[in-house]
Amino acid sequence: MAVKNLPIVPSGDPGALVEAANYATWRIFRPVITESAKVNPIVTLYCPDGAITVDESGAEVNYKLCKGCGICAKESEGIQMVPEYTGPKGVF
């Protein structure tokens, strides 16, 4: 067997883990921007994963990075946590 050709420093593209985990299967609730204009830009600092951005064009959540912790929705208006799973009740 030949040794595989690998980078000396074990590394990968950003978000490789997220891709591997098939886009955030760990999330039970997702933050949804309900009123972009009301979102307090401070949430960009509160977010542990750098998953939310707020600029002139409004607020946006990167669902590849978001773990669904809900801190942004707790700290700011204009964001609501909604269940990821919308199938029949009683599954969870």
Binding site: V3, K4, L6, I8, V9, P10, S11, G12, D13, P14, G15, A16, L17, A20
Partner: protein, 381 residues
Amino acid sequence: MNKVLITGSEAAALGAKLAKIEVLGYYPITPAFPAMERLSKYIEDGELNCKFIRVESDHSALASVLGGSLAGARSYTVTNSQGLLLMTEVVYHAAGLRQPIVMGVANRALSAPHSRFPEHGDAVSQGATGWIQLFSENNQDVLDNTIQAFRVAEELRTPVMVNYEGYLQSHTLEEVFVPDQGKVDAFLPLKRMPALDVTNPRGVNTVAGPDVYTDYKYIQNAAMEQALELIPKVAADYNREFGANSCGLIEGYMMDDAEHAIVAMGSIVGTARLLVDELRKQGKKIGLVKVKTWRPFPAQAVNQILKNVKYVTVLDKNIVFGVGGALATDIKANLYGQGSMVINGAILGLGGGKCGVKEIKEAVDHTESSENKNRSEWIGL
């Protein structure tokens, strides 16, 4: 080259200064702290252009140094005992991420019970981490090993620990020859190998699945094996450039016709030399093997130098519980099937316990009178 009277801590700091380190992460711990104090003074006085990162724990100290190294800076830290244990997680990270970090370790016994005295237990606890480990017999070794460590680390992209014993070396003055800065610059050209690039962001230490993890470890181990060839070459280069007398993997003393060999590493080597001189005067064919490079283990070199002896006494200032001394265990494992000599390990000098000429003599006598080849003898109970 000039001659100065300095402690082992100052020798470590001077080595790092001559290597022109760029990042120093440090959390205070005894007896490693004087090395940091000296380095911080060099920085304050403008003699060293280095970013000194003060952190809240030893774990963070090595993590900050790892960050510096990933960004391509020549990075250094010092620690010992409990600090090294707290760092352990990052010790593995640094090796797996192949970062050429150099770390001074002022060896101190591990708690519990609490001890502030010299012993190799802390270094031995890190023997499987993938770091190259060099041991220093005296303060000259501390300086020489530190400078050579940067060269070895950067050529192999593998981190190196330079061990010197707490107090016995860290706080004891000895005469040390200091190489000229210009020559060190030529000996240690800075080759930047940044793993982080802001224009091309990537994640380091990403998940490696079962399909590639073994390959990563194979490649890492291959670098360690390469070190066995590189370390003697670097030492030879160093000796040629600086007129020094630094050994590579091991050094034999009075080994040409020796029937009995003492094998040791660290400061006890110097004490064992005195015993060998004394016994040689009485006509005893005894020699000494100094192990400078403990990881990777120089199996071939050790087997070669011990092939004709009848008795081997291995001195261990450490105990691997339920097994014996680490060095004795390595030597027995590597000599398997290679001869019929009696190999005895001696555990001595734990937590600052006595390990003078008398104690080493006791270990030597025990080896020649013992028929039991598989146990370690505890000296100085």
